[in-house]
Amino acid sequence: MRRVPRVGIGGPVGSGKSMLIERLVPVLVRKGYAAGVISNDVISKEDADRIRATLSADCTVPGDLVVGLATGGCPHTAVREDPSMNLAAIEQMVRDHPELDIIIIESGGDNITTTFSPVLADYFMYMIDVAGGDKYPRKGGLGIQSCDLLVINKIDLAEHVGADLDVMRRDAVRSRGEKPFLFTDCRSNTGVDEVARHIIRDLLFDAPPGAGGP
């Protein structure tokens, strides 16, 4: 079975990972890429149900291409130490949909050391939001430091919560060196196209849709 390229998205609860997926997938689909989503959740399948409802409402993605996994309170384990549940879900998804170009795996949890096993994800995005405080990029942590793309979301709230975007920009550069980061406001689609461009360039290597073939 061929390996469909996989993006892992980690980050604190409420940072906007599900919203990013809901906005990102339609961009990828409009460009012709077939996408599937796996959502690991600490307590429920609510995120998966919401993403499924959003993406299937306009037929962007068939319902069976959004899968929710209950992780026994250990979402980090499910994407790093023991990714077997996710690997099995991916295998089933690719078996049912060999046309897939990309699979997005979401995992939440308030743990800045979250990372994805390279066996599970080929490209790792870590998402924080300004409402969590402008200290986040400075605090570092494996997730923020090692991810392929750091996404700082909800920039529209910065002035309301006293977060200084210049400080976050400076600290992101300090903790990540030359590795990229983006400011987004997913609710208004700000920066979402740029996230898609990074994924298509750095994960898919600008391959056209269907290049992997079923």
Binding site: E46, T71, A78, S84
Partner: protein, 219 residues
């Protein structure tokens, strides 16, 4: 001897990547229903599970799979796998058992029956896969059953810890108290010619748990 001991430790370690950390074996559902709220409740439940499910079903299936693998009896493993799967009435238990068992086989590379599973001729349920892997690692039938028994208890206790039913010291106390029951469960499995279980109350609660919107564990 050292190889076998280390093999047992490896196979029963929660670090082994088979996804078992996402199972509570009905404990989450029972806790929500108010049936389990103390360490004593949990210990009583696990004692009952060991006697009526883990020993006669999981240990027995693992030991028989271990024996079939030793004899090269692939048909026997396939038959056992199908029977074990059919004995599990809770859908999410069946699916999780197959998922974990298959991943376990993948992890223990070059296992003789892996192709059977890839081709869809076998489900690869957890205890059957466990028995096959233990045979491949040179673990005895008794060691296999002990690892199944311990792994079950440790998994349940870990789930109860995360659910907040018990605290860390109580967790170790329960495991210690249940050692004779784990041994008995393993011996039951070793001496059994059949695979059976009887825990209808737990199964009914788990069936209801499958359909709950908000939950931490698969089941």
């Amino acid at each position: 001897m050292a190889d076998e001991l280390l093999g047992i430790m490896q196979m029963s370690d929660s670090l082994f990547p088979a996804g078992m950390f996402a199972m509570s074996n009905g404990i989450e559902a029972m806790h929500r229903a108010g049936d389990i709220s103390t360490a004593a409740d949990l210990e009583t439940l696990l004692r009952s599970y060991l006697a009526h499910q883990t020993g006669p079903s999981d240990c027995a299936a693992a030991v028989r799979a271990h024996r079939c693998a030793g004899e090269g009896d692939i048909g026997g493993i396939r038959d056992l796998d199908a029977r074990y799967l059919a004995s599990k009435s809770v859908r999410e238990i069946r699916e999780a058992s197959v998922r974990s068992g298959t991943q376990m086989l993948r992890c223990i590379t070059e296992i003789l029956h892996d192709e059977e599973i890839r081709n869809g001729r076998m489900s690869g349920t957890y205890p059957v896969s466990f028995g096959v892997c233990c045979q491949a690692l040179g673990i005895s039938a008794h060691g296999t059953a002990m690892a199944v028994s311990y792994g079950f208890v440790a998994g349940c206790v870990g789930a109860a810890l995360r659910l907040g039913i018990i605290q860390h010291m109580e967790a170790q106390g329960i495991i210690h108290n249940l050692k004779p029951d784990m041994e008995r469960s393993a011996l039951d499995g070793c001496g059994s010619d059949t695979v059976w279980q009887f825990c209808p109350q737990a199964e009914i609660l788990q069936m209801a748990h499958e359909n709950q919107d908000s939950k931490m564990f698969i089941t």
